[in-house]
Structure formats: structure tokens, C-alpha cells
């Protein structure tokens, strides 16, 4: 997995609440058996018309947001299905950080597995960043994971929380399975004990 350390980039504003996984990546694109290549279909139904032409006023189609690396979004981002295609599409587009007042649980977890940092902030701070994002390329935002700080374009510093273990994995690009395998003896022991207690499992 790619490391996430510090990011300085354009943020795209998507103030809509309850942006669900079907909006992020419609199901027609779930038929792939690969992880890559989904970026062109990110937000597909909002981004293209039926004939495949770009809808000009959709945020990521505007020239100033084409290279956005941060998304500032409305409440409850990523609700809906468990499809990891959602973070795959976001990452493949080039977005590495999503900021909102809240995220759906599974989506939130899936982000970390794919080198994306989801950040939860209180409403006023998201509003502040949303304003920044609306200024496009003129207002780059800095996200520093090590320091757990976001710096707005005019130099305001907003601290954020992140789970220590997830931070460690993201900073170092660590693969979960490899880490878990180090505890294989604990899993063996648990399995033996469970087998004795609940043999029907």
C-alpha cells in the first residue's frame, strides 16, 4: 500500500449530504475482477450524461478541480454498500483525503486499507474548509498526518483525530495481513480453545 504522509493540494467541495456508494461508483462498474482503473467512473452518473459526455458543472469536471486530491463532503459520506470499489475509484482518481462531519462505518474502514485518509471534523470546521475548497486552485489545503493537522489556505491550523494504529499503518504503508500474521500463535490458541468450548462451530 502507498504511504500517506503529507499532502498539499486542491480540495473539491461536495456539500451534498448522504453521498452514497451507488453515487460514488454505480454498480455497473462492480463487475470488474481488478482493483485498478475505476477512477474514470468515479461519481459516474453525476459526472457524465447518458451518452458519456461530461456534465460541465459537476465539480470534478471543472478545470480547477480536475486535479483535486482532497474532497470536502457533506454529512454521512459513503453510506450504503460495503463495496471497496468506492475507495478504489476515489484513490484511482487521485483523491487521497476525504473530509466530512461523518462517514459510514464500512466506507471509513475501507479508506484506510487503500491509502486514503478520511477525516472527521465538527461542522464549523468542515464549513470553513468547504469555503476554502470553493476557491479552487487558489486555495490549497495541507494535510499533515504525522502532526494530525490541516492547514487552510490562509494559514489556520485545524487539529484532527485519527486512530493510532490506523495512522501507523497509513504512514508506513503497512499491509494488515502481514501484521496479523505476526499474531498467528494467538489465533491458533484461540481456535483450539473455541473448538473445545463450542465444538459445533
Amino acid at each position: 500500500m502507498e504511504k500517506f504522509q503529507k499532502l498539499h493540494g486542491v480540495a473539491a467541495p461536495m456539500p451534498l449530504v448522504n453521498i452514497d456508494t451507488d453515487m460514488i461508483i454505480p454498480k455497473v462498474f462492480l463487475k470488474t475482477i481488478k482493483r485498478s482503473g475505476l477512477g474514470v467512473n468515479l461519481f459516474d452518473e453525476m459526472r457524465y450524461d447518458r451518452d458519456g459526455n461530461e456534465i460541465a458543472d459537476f465539480v470534478l469536471n471543472q478545470p480547477k478541480y480536475r486535479n483535486a486530491e482532497i474532497l470536502v463532503a457533506g454529512d454521512n459520506f459513503g453510506c450504503g454498500s460495503s463495496r471497496e470499489h468506492a475507495p478504489w475509484a476515489i484513490a484511482d482518481f487521485g483523491i487521497k483525503c476525504v473530509i466530512s462531519t461523518s462517514f459510514a462505518d464500512i466506507f471509513f474502514n475501507n479508506c484506510f486499507k487503500n491509502g486514503i485518509l478520511p477525516i472527521v471534523l465538527p461542522q464549523e470546521q468542515v464549513d470553513l474548509l468547504m469555503e476554502d475548497a470553493e476557491r479552487g486552485e487558489n486555495a490549497r489545503i495541507t494535510v499533515d498526518l504525522e502532526a494530525q493537522e490541516i492547514t487552510t489556505s490562509d494559514g489556520r491550523v485545524l487539529p484532527f483525530e485519527v486512530d493510532a494504529f490506523k495512522k501507523h499503518c497509513l504512514l508506513n504503508g503497512l499491509d494488515d495481513i502481514g501484521l496479523t500474521m505476526k499474531n498467528v500463535s494467538a489465533i491458533d490458541a484461540f481456535e483450539a480453545k473455541a473448538q473445545a468450548e463450542r465444538p459445533w462451530v
Binding site: 453515487m23 463487475k31 452518473e45 447518458r50 454498500s81 464500512i106 496479523t180 489465533i187 459445533w200
Partner: protein, 467 residues
């Protein structure tokens, strides 16, 4: 010992390892797999030279992509769908996991097959790369959806890296009125809490209304816990649960069964255990409901009128405006005046035998409206067989319904069962998101009885008027 919730107890019984910061390795008893969210996980195993740690605890079934038309033995036309189903076939064989192929009568929607075959048992941990894994919580099993990276992690290690969620209690007191079903209950809960109301929590559903429900009804309630944002929904196991489980192919056999029941009976919330959040609804207050918008929280009693964006506050104003535009509805319009083109009855929410019985009760001896497209897609091949045996299938066919083979079908329309743009559907599924049932398709979520009523009248209809 301090009192524990049901969730606390299942959690504690499955922690295989805990780090200093509270991150746990949670042991997984059952891992269900379907074709859409697993190919990349198996590929990952292959690339790393890993095997499936517990193939006997891993169960795979294709459901999302499979055609449900009667001629499906001829194969899948859509190439990408076929590749996904073929990939599951190959992976199941290569890694030696339990498998129900399309040709097997036991095939069906993964969340219907698991309980039906007795894979899902009380006190277990159950995961699947699918958010509606919450369904299995009806058995008092901690069950939730995971992403594909986590699918790979469970395949390789039989554990998940987890932090504990908070405890939430949703109590439904009293009794339901006639015509009000578990689907109305679960939608009413989401209407009350919002789609983010359960975020960060595991919900325990309790109260007399839940106690009085069958296992099928409880599965319908837990199925939509995810639509309320919760990681999982749980119902404490009781005699109804044990009775349902008994004798199923993978349930504990005689002798061991009694031992298992003794163990399962320890899974309940202790007197005095603390919940971080409590929501209480009166069963008598719940009415037959329908969704008007594009989020499952957009729910109203069938007797209501379409709301206006100004009825909301904050970000929801814009979301409601967008939803009304998408759904082609006008504020103030009566919900019962909304005309329907298609009726879909099925899905892991309402594709079980009781749901089909409820439909039959409404449509028996009647005909669906002229020009109506109405399909019934049983949740599994066994549900289909049972419905045929009970004579329900004949009632459906005589009424004019298409009687399909098992699969997810128009719940998410990955197979050919899709809505055309602006086509309007009364659906017993669980999501009314934009495009969910087809590009620009319009979905109204309802109970099986209400879907049946809409098929007869051609409009959203209060099922109580047909009873």
C-alpha cells in the same frame, strides 16, 4: 462482574488478541462470500502465496449477477457478469471452500442461504463482503459487512482487525396493528433515527414487538440496521431462534444441540447493562410506510403527502430538493396518488417464505393491473420450492406475476432485471438510492403486502384497504 450487553458478550467471546491501544483481532466463525466483492481478495491470496485458513467455515454462493429467468441454465449473456461468476466457481474449487453453484437448488441470496442451511447460529461472529450481512444478527450473531481487503484478511487469518463499537438499544414496545409488518418497523426506525443515527453503534433490537416476531421478521428488521448506519443489528436468541435452527443441515446435531442451546442461552443483555444510546418506539404508533425520496430515511406513513424541501433543515433541504426532482414528485401530492409501473418482490430483506405468503394473501384470486410489470424473485431455490409446494406460485402466476429463480435481481439490478429511466417501482428491497434499480429508475421501498397491493391497483396503496 459488571453487567454486559449482548454485544459485549459476543465480542468478548471472540477476541483472539488485543493490542495495548485496544485494537483487537476478532475471531470469525462464519465467512460468507459472493462473486462481486471477492475476486480481488482471492487474487490477493494467490499473489502472496497464501491459503484460506478455515475453508470449512467459509461459504460461497453467487447471487448478485445471476440471471433469475427460467432459462438461466443456458448461461450468462453479459460477459463481465459471467467472468465474475466463473471466477467464484474457480476460486471456490481452488481454495476448497463450501460452495452452492448456480445449478444447485440451495443457491440463493447469500444472506438467505446462510441461515437456511444452518450456517448462521447464535453467539457467532459472521462476516461477508456485503453490507446486508447485518441480517444474520437476527440469530444473536454479531454479523456485519466488510470490504474486499477485509475479505482477504479473513480468508487468510480467520480474524478481523477491529475496535469495539458503542452499544445502542432500540426498543419497540407493545403490539403492531393489523397490516403493519417487520418491514414497516425497520423503515420506521430509520425514519426516526436517520441514516446516520446508528453510525458507530451496534444496535440491539428488543421489546415485545421484536419478541413476537418470527425469525423471518427479525431478519427483515436486522437486514436494514445498516441503512440506519449501524455496524450491526442484534436480537437476543430465544426459543423462536432455537426452533428455527433445529434440524438445519449445518446446525449442531442431536446430542450436541442441547449443549449448544445451553451455551446460546447465555447470550442476552444483563440486567443493568449500560447502553450509549436508547431509542424507543411504540408498536401501536407504527403505520404501513413507504419511502418518497432517495435515502431510506425518507420515509412516511402511506396516508401522508409528499413533503416539501422547506420541511427540512441544514444539508437535508438541498438533498430533499434533489430527491424530489429525481423522483419526479411534487410537494403536497398524496402518496396514494403516485402511479407505479413496476413491482419487485424479493431481496434479502423480503425474499423469504413468510414474505411470499403475505403477498399471496393480498393477491389471491385477483389480477395485477393491466400493463404492470410485476416480478417475484424468491430468496433461494429452497424458498421457491416451498412456495410451489404451498401453492403460492400458482396464486402468483394466476394473478399475472412473473415467477422467477433465486437471486438478488432488481434489488441492485446487476443482472438484466433493471428499471428504465423514470420508471417507477414499488420494491420490497432495502435501498432507494439514485440509480439503484437502474439508471434514473425511481424506487419506493415498501413491505411485501404493500408491494402486492400496488401491483393490483397500479398506485402506491394502503394495504389495509385490501384486507
Amino acid at each position: 462482574m459488571s453487567p454486559k450487553t449482548l454485544y459485549d458478550k459476543i465480542w468478548d467471546a471472540h477476541v483472539a488478541h488485543e493490542s495495548e491501544d485496544g485494537t483487537c483481532l476478532l475471531y470469525i466463525d462464519r465467512h460468507l462470500v459472493h462473486e462481486v466483492t471477492s475476486p480481488q481478495a482471492f487474487e490477493g491470496l494467490r499473489m502472496a502465496g497464501r491459503s484460506v485458513r478455515a475453508p470449512d467455515k467459509t461459504i460461497a454462493v453467487p447471487d448478485h449477477n445471476v440471471p433469475t429467468t427460467l432459462d438461466r441454465a443456458k448461461g450468462i449473456d453479459n460477459e463481465e457478469s459471467r467472468i465474475q461468476v466463473d471466477a467464484l466457481d474457480t476460486n471456490a474449487k481452488e481454495f476448497g471452500i463450501n460452495y452452492y453453484p448456480v445449478s444447485d437448488v440451495r443457491q440463493g441470496i447469500v444472506h438467505i442461504v446462510g441461515p437456511e442451511q444452518g450456517w448462521t447460529l447464535p453467539g457467532m461472529t459472521v462476516v461477508c463482503g456485503d453490507s446486508h450481512t447485518a441480517t444474520h444478527g437476527a440469530f444473536g450473531a454479531l454479523a456485519h459487512g466488510i470490504g474486499t481487503s477485509e475479505v482477504e484478511h479473513v480468508l487468510a487469518t480467520q480474524t478481523l482487525i477491529q475496535k469495539k463499537s458503542k452499544n445502542m438499544k432500540v426498543e419497540i414496545t407493545g403490539k403492531l396493528k393489523p397490516g403493519v409488518t417487520p418491514k414497516d418497523v425497520t423503515l420506521a426506525i430509520i425514519g426516526a433515527t436517520g441514516t446516520a443515527g446508528g453510525t458507530g453503534y451496534v444496535i440491539e433490537y428488543c421489546g415485545d414487538v421484536i419478541r413476537d416476531m418470527s425469525m423471518e421478521g427479525r431478519m427483515t428488521v436486522c437486514n436494514m440496521a445498516i441503512e440506519g448506519g449501524a455496524r450491526a443489528g442484534l436480537i437476543a436468541p430465544d426459543e423462536t431462534t432455537f426452533e428455527y435452527v433445529k434440524g438445519r443441515p449445518h446446525a449442531p446435531k442431536a446430542g450436541q444441540f442441547e449443549q449448544a442451546v445451553e451455551y446460546w442461552k447465555t447470550f442476552y443483555t444483563d440486567e443493568g447493562a449500560e447502553f450509549d444510546k436508547v431509542v424507543t418506539l411504540r408498536g401501536e404508533d407504527i403505520q404501513p410506510v413507504v419511502t418518497w425520496g432517495t435515502s431510506p430515511e425518507d420515509v412516511l406513513p402511506i396516508t401522508a403527502t409528499v413533503p416539501s424541501p422547506e420541511d427540512f433543515t441544514g444539508g437535508k433541504v438541498e438533498a430533499a430538493r434533489r430527491a424530489l426532482d429525481y423522483m419526479g414528485l411534487t410537494p403536497g401530492q398524496k402518496l396514494t396518488d403516485i402511479e407505479i409501473d413496476t413491482v419487485f418482490i424479493g431481496s434479502c430483506t423480503n425474499g423469504r417464505i413468510e414474505d411470499l405468503r403475505a403477498v399471496a394473501e393480498v393477491v389471491k384470486g385477483k389480477k395485477i393491473k393491466d400493463g404492470m410489470r410485476a416480478m417475484i424473485v424468491p430468496g433461494s431455490g429452497l424458498v421457491r420450492a416451498q412456495a410451489e409446494e404451498e401453492g403460492l406460485a400458482d396464486i402468483f402466476k394466476e394473478a399475472g406475476f412473473e415467477w422467477r429463480l433465486a437471486g438478488c435481481s432488481m434489488c441492485l439490478a446487476m443482472n438484466p432485471d433493471q428499471l428504465a429511466p423514470e420508471e417507477r417501482c414499488a420494491s420490497t428491497s432495502n435501498r432507494n438510492f439514485e440509480g439503484r434499480q437502474g439508471y434514473k429508475g425511481r424506487t419506493h421501498l415498501v413491505s411485501p403486502g404493500m408491494a402486492a397491493a400496488a401491483a393490483l391497483t397500479g398506485k402506491l396503496t394502503d394495504v389495509r384497504e385490501l384486507m
